[in-house]
């Protein structure tokens, strides 16, 4: 019973937030709707025994990324209302809606058709440590720092490259320097 209520509430949050991102005209409202969706996903992560990822979801996504969005909105003053009435391409919005419905329907049918073939492997991994409070984070750490340690190191390289590239893109050029911004 409890699980059903949690799932229903979190799913309602996720879908309401997603619809808010799609259909609110003001970018700030879209960012706030995005927070709603991300919190709903975090609740679902807890329901799926991924406690560490739920915490990371709230801190990194709802905390850092959405605040970054809001900063850029404030910084650029792009708080204008978007004109939703104009179709850039003829019939773009109806076609987009049809394509979206078809995608959701197709994937749902595929999930339902393959429902029986999904078998659990009991005793391996997550369920064994579910009773332990730190079990999830311990399992995750063991996986990241043993098998996937090379990927982890490459991730740090990626972050450094991203930071350097962004600084180069966003700074103002000095006098006598050719501009590299797009």
């Amino acid at each position: 019973m409890m699980e059903l209520i949690v799932f229903a509430a979190a799913a309602a949050m996720v879908l309401a937030g997603a619809l808010g991102v799609l259909f609110t005209r003001h970018p700030v409202h879209a960012a706030l709707s995005l927070i709603l969706t991300l919190f709903g996903i975090a609740v679902l992560f807890v329901a799926l025994e991924a406690n560490f990822l739920a915490a990371v979801q709230v801190i990194v996504y709802a905390g850092a990324i959405v605040v970054l969005f809001l900063f850029v909105i404030m910084l650029l003053g792009v708080d204008k209302v978007e004109a939703m009435g104009i179709d850039p391409v003829r019939l773009q919005r109806p076609i987009a809606a049809i394509v979206g419905l078809c995608t959701a329907g197709l994937v749902t049918v595929a999930i339902l058709a393959s429902r029986g073939s999904l078998t659990a492997r009991p005793g391996s991994g997550l369920t064994a440590d579910a009773a332990d409070a730190d079990g999830n984070i311990r399992l995750l750490a063991r996986d990241v720092f043993s098998d996937k340690v090379l990927a982890f190191e490459l991730t740090s390289v990626l972050l450094v490259i991203a930071v350097v590239g962004t600084v180069l893109l966003a700074r103002k050029p000095r006098k006598g320097e050719t501009e590299v911004t797009p």
């Binding site: 699980e3 990194v60 969005f69 991203a162 600084v167």
Partner: protein, 106 residues
């Protein structure tokens, strides 16, 4: 006494994330503000993350959660670079929408 209340299974989570992915896709197609486009891409990434975590729980394998961890890092880097590009574009042309950015020269 309430009889036979269904508990959410993996299938429910998968269908929810399929719907969320489709919503994000529609958003990318209909919105014209570059910032909102990024938000819709975040919706799609989160839908895929939910799928990974649902499968990790069902199969009892922590690898799915590890993948989500890396997806989050890459998504953060992607947002930083993307917003850097948006700042650089909008500083020159404050009212640009994605339709105005059809050519490569500035």
């Amino acid at each position: 006494m309430i009889a036979a209340v269904p508990t959410p299974t993996t299938t429910w989570y998968l269908i929810l994330s399929a719907v969320l992915f489709a919503l994000g896709m529609v958003g990318v197609m209909i919105r014209r503000n570059p910032l909102v486009l990024f938000m819709c891409i975040e919706l799609m990434l989160n839908a895929v993350n939910l799928t990974f975590v649902a499968f990790a729980q069902r199969l009892g394998d922590v690898g799915g959660q590890t993948t989500v961890f890396f997806v989050m890092v890459v998504a953060a880097a992607e947002v930083v670079v993307g917003l850097g590009i948006v700042v650089a574009i909008l500083r020159r042309r404050p009212s640009a929408t994605t339709d105005d950015l059809a050519e490569l020269k500035g």
